[in-house]
Structure formats: structure tokens, C-alpha cells
């Protein structure tokens, strides 16, 4: 079993594998990788040598991952932001532009982590931080009273007092401290009553982010009410509940229709929202009940549907 890593260079952007490039860099950032590892990843994924200019230092890595004398780039414009070059004879490869972009973003995150304000946010939301350290971090950021935390994808830049990027089990997550809920999603948010409540608020904001959808791009944990308790119990390694399996058995379109129906006063009101004739929706009611194993329009059925949908989105 050798040289499987050859596959790393064959990611096909046409087959939706470009997302794997993004995941690759996110995993490095979440795992606490250093600057050289990011340059190495750019070289591996592009199968050619890469050079980066980071804070005035040049770092060169060849396609085999070995350190090399950096090739001085031709067009160095003075800039604070890290720059990455791929040295390829002939035209650029299909993923080159994205690899360069993602490598530069990853380097920016790693550099930003060394910023005192950023590490203060990390200390604030870490449950392992002592009371004294948490107070010191809150003072540094001049935080008082209730504090709103915002969770977003790792490459976000919402207007906040301070932010950091956390490495979590679900990958890298951007965490901002501010008082405004960003209008642009995907975003999850939660308010900490006081500084002791910050780790809880951070976890809830992350859960809320995972519940964000195309239709509800901004999710406030407070709006979930008691459902946040359910979200906190989610265990990715546990066997899914049959209600969640039943949802998985439906197609995406049916689930989207049910989302509207369950949230509506009546089938008639849902039909208006969906621009469908209410009789065609009415006709499907019996089928939904059979497929789900319960009536999603009964009071208890609505609760079961919403709870199962929540668990399904967290998975």
C-alpha cells in the first residue's frame, strides 16, 4: 500500500471535488497546522512546487512535500496579506486558482490567531479557561453585561468587536463577539448572560449555525426555545431515531414541502405559500402520514416532525 496520495492530485473540479480542496485546508486549520503545512498542502494538491510569502519570509515546498529553496516570485507587490504562488510550466491546472485562494485564506487565519484580540476570544469561550483568565480576556475586549456570540463559516468577516477561528469536531468555525446579528447568513447566534455563560453560548451558537438552511440563513438559539436542549443532546455516533430515518427516506422536495406545511396554520395556507392548489396538497396528506409513521399535521405530529428535522440537520 504505497503512494495512494497520488489520488490527492486528481481531485476533479467537474465532479464537485473542488469542495474537497476546501475541506482539506479547513482540516489543516482546525487541526492547528502551521504555515509550512499550508504551503505543503498547496504543493501536494496542485502536484507542483509552491512558494509563499508570509510576513516577509519566503517558504518553498516541492510537489513531494520536501522543503526547497523558495523560487523568488516575479511580481512581489508589498502587502501584509500572505501570498501563494504555484510554479507550473504551461497553463494553470484546473484547481490552481482555488488552491491558491484557499491556501491564502488558511494562512490568513493562522496569522490572525497570533493576534492578541483573537486569542482573547478563544480564551473567553473555552470552558477550560479559569474565571480569572476569562475576566482578563473580557476586560481586554471591554465586554460588559450580556454578550452576543456569532458562529459562521471559517472565512467570514462580519462586523464584530473581535473574532477568532475555532478548531472544532465539525471543522473550523468563525466565532465573533458583538452586539449585532449579521443579516447575511449562514450564521448561528446566542447571547451569554454573563462571562461565565460564554462557553455555553458559544456551543449553542455553533449548534444554531448547523441548523441554518437556505431559507433560514440566520438562526438565533433563543428562537429555538426549549428545542436547544434537544440540539445539545445530539450525538453523531448514536444510531439515528426512526423518526429521523423516516425523514431521510423522503426526497428533498417532499421535505421542503413538509417544512412549509408543518409551519402553516392549515393546508390551505401552506398551499398559498407554495403556489400549489390546496387539493393537491390535501391529497398527499395521507401519504405523508404513511411514510412518516405519524400525522405531521396533528399537534403532536408537528412537534415530532420539527424535532426529527432538527436532529437530521445536525447530522
Amino acid at each position: 500500500m504505497q503512494e495512494l496520495a497520488g489520488r490527492l492530485t486528481e481531485l476533479d473540479p467537474a465532479a464537485g471535488e473542488s469542495v474537497r480542496v476546501i475541506d482539506y485546508f479547513d482540516s489543516l486549520v482546525a487541526g492547528g497546522a502551521g504555515i509550512e503545512s499550508i504551503v505543503r498542502a498547496a504543493a501536494i494538491l496542485s502536484a507542483t512546487s509552491a512558494t509563499a510569502l508570509v510576513r516577509g519570509r519566503l517558504i518553498g515546498i516541492d510537489a513531494d512535500g520536501a522543503r526547497m529553496t523558495p523560487a523568488a516570485p516575479i511580481d512581489t507587490t508589498p502587502t501584509d496579506a500572505p501570498i501563494v504562488w504555484l510554479h507550473r510550466d504551461g497553463g494553470p491546472g484546473p484547481n490552481d486558482a482555488m488552491i491558491i485562494d484557499r491556501a491564502q485564506i488558511a494562512l490568513s487565519i493562522i496569522l490572525a490567531r497570533t493576534d492578541p484580540a483573537m486569542s482573547a476570544v478563544e480564551r473567553l469561550v473555552d470552558a477550560g479557561t479559569s474565571r480569572v483568565d476569562r475576566e482578563a480576556a473580557a476586560q481586554r475586549l471591554r465586554l460588559t453585561g450580556p454578550i452576543r456570540l456569532v458562529a459562521a463559516p471559517p472565512h467570514s468577516s462580519h462586523p464584530v468587536a473581535a473574532s477568532t477561528v475555532l478548531a472544532t469536531r465539525e471543522g473550523a468555525v468563525w466565532i465573533g463577539v458583538g452586539d449585532v446579528i449579521p443579516a447575511e447568513g449562514p450564521v448561528g447566534t446566542s447571547v451569554a448572560h454573563d462571562i461565565d455563560d460564554l462557553p455555553r453560548a458559544c456551543d449553542d451558537a455553533r449548534l444554531a449555525l448547523r441548523l441554518a438552511t437556505e431559507d433560514h440563513r440566520v438562526v438565533d438559539a433563543a428562537e429555538l426555545g426549549v428545542l436547544i436542549l434537544l440540539a445539545r443532546t445530539f450525538d453523531p455516533s448514536a444510531t439515528p431515531h426512526p423518526d429521523v430515518d423516516a425523514l431521510e427516506g423522503l426526497d428533498e422536495r417532499t421535505r421542503a414541502v413538509l417544512d412549509v406545511v408543518v409551519e402553516s396554520e392549515s393546508i390551505r395556507a401552506a398551499a398559498v405559500k407554495l403556489s400549489l392548489h390546496h387539493s393537491s396538497l390535501q391529497a398527499r396528506h395521507e401519504g405523508w402520514t404513511r411514510q412518516l409513521g405519524y400525522d405531521p399535521l396533528s399537534p403532536r405530529g408537528r412537534v415530532r416532525f420539527l424535532a426529527a428535522r432538527l436532529m437530521q440537520r445536525l447530522a
Binding site: E3, A5, R20, G31, R40, G65
Partner: protein, 324 residues
Amino acid sequence: MAAEAVLPRPPYDAELAPMLDVISTMLPPTLTADMLPALRQGTLPGMPSAEEVLAKARLRSRDVTIAGYRGGEIVVSVIEAEGRTGHGPGILHTHGGGMIMGDRFGGIAAFAEWLHRYDGVLVSVEYRLAPEFPDPYPVEDCYAGLVWTAENAEEIGLEAGRLLIAGASAGGGLAAGVALLARDRQGPPLLGQMLLCPMLDDRDATVSTRQYEGIGVWDRGSNLLGWGSLLGDRRGTPDVSIYAAPARATDLSGLPPAYIDCGSAEVFRDEDVAYASAIWASGGQAELHVWPGGFHGFDGLAPQAALSHDVVDARDRWIRRLLG
């Protein structure tokens, strides 16, 4: 199956983690018997053929048919630099693959530089695989390869007394077993034993085997498949020889110096560390490297990672001290 709490385990090296994600899409953590035919085809994408590996490393190979265990015919390949005419040190190579798959060309590329540098020769044994050929076929075939190599030293350009044995994974276990057989049978002398992430213990009783179940490369389930294929109902019983499972040896004196490495994030970690400790306890010599956050066989599967480059460097330093 009662749900067990997940044990804490060392995190994967930050660079290796995303590489493992890619590898896991092609190689499931838990191999099962029904996957064997496909795995033996060697049809994993991105795998170069033996010819490509040899050509790229500027090596030539010739096959010799020899008598294996109980006289059955097996093939050994004599591999050396293209155009080699001189004499030099030798490596007897026992390939990996969990005792149930792989062939004599697997892992050869790792030795190419030394063959060129020392004008050396490598003999790789196509031992017969379990479960069709259970213990002691694999280790006895490998021992037959050792005896043949020593007896034909002149003809293959091997300097007397300059032969070491090397193998990775199951090949590391077989190399350790052959070294024990050579000691106990007063067989050909060995200069050293290179046990790379070796598979040594059939008993499935370490912490590391429980830590790596359903995750990584060659997990606990795969390991039970390998040992079960090799030993059948004898696996884990007192009826297993030290040559099949070297971890069972209590006296590890009188062995050639050992080089042992493994990752901290693999099933074999604890048995490999224990083997090094047992060698020292017996007054022997061993060099041990436990690479932090390394999964099984990471140096071969993810050769570009910084940690993999360090693995190559460490092995090279040991070889330089051994062969000068």
C-alpha cells in the same frame, strides 16, 4: 453490541488528518473477508505497478523459484540497481499486507536509495498468504528465503555477514519471526532487523487496538481478520508460536539490533513499544520511534507529509550507522 464509550486517543497529525480523509474514501478502516479478492487485485486507484516503481527507482528485478515450506515452490525477486556488477550489503524483504494480501514488490521503493548508495541487493519473498496457507507457511516461506539468500550470496553479489532483514506491517512481524527462527536454528547471521510498524501480537489485548476501531488504516477489525486468517481458532490461545506472533516471546536475547517504528495513532503502537522494551529487558539493542499522530503505514500512503519525510530521515540515519 453494547455501546462503548469512545476511548480518548492521540489526535492525528494536523497534516496527516486531511490526507487520511482522502485515503479513507478508497480504503475502508475495517477490511472484511469479502473484500479480499478485490484487495488482492491491487486495484486501488493511484497505485503504480511494480514495473513503474522499479523503473522510476532505476532498479532491475529477476525472479528465482525456490523451495518454500514443505518443499512447495515460491518465488523470490532479486532486486538491484540497473547495471550493477559489484558486491554489497543485502536486505531480505518480507512485504506487508496483514498476512492476507500484498506481494513482494509492495514497499520496495523505500529501499531504492540504499541499494544505489551501498551497491546493495534486495531479495523479496513471495511468501504464501493466509488463509489459504495458514501459519506456519508465511514465516517458514520467509525463512526459506533467508536461507536461500545466504546460500547464494556469491551469485547475487552479497557481502558475507552484511545481510539485514526488513519488513513493514505484517512484513515487520514476519521479519521479527524470521530473526527469532534464525537465532533458534543457528541459521544465517543477520546484521540487523528493520521492523516498520510491525504486526506482532495476535492477542487483541492492548489499549491501542481498542482505540483504533472503525477508524484509520488497518483498524482492530482488519487486524482480527489478519490474525484470524493466519491462526484460525488458535488466535489468542496458548497454542501460538513466538515465530507467528513475536510479541509472545519472553526471551529476546541474542537477536540482531532492531529498528522499530510506528505511529502513536495506530493499532500496533502498544505492541511495538512493548517489543522494543522486551528487547532491552533481554539485554538487546533496539531503536524505537513512535511518530506523533501517525496512522498505520502513513509514510507510504502519505509520503509528502512532513512527518513522513522525518520517518525516511530517521531510518536513513540508522542504516548509515549500520552499513557505514
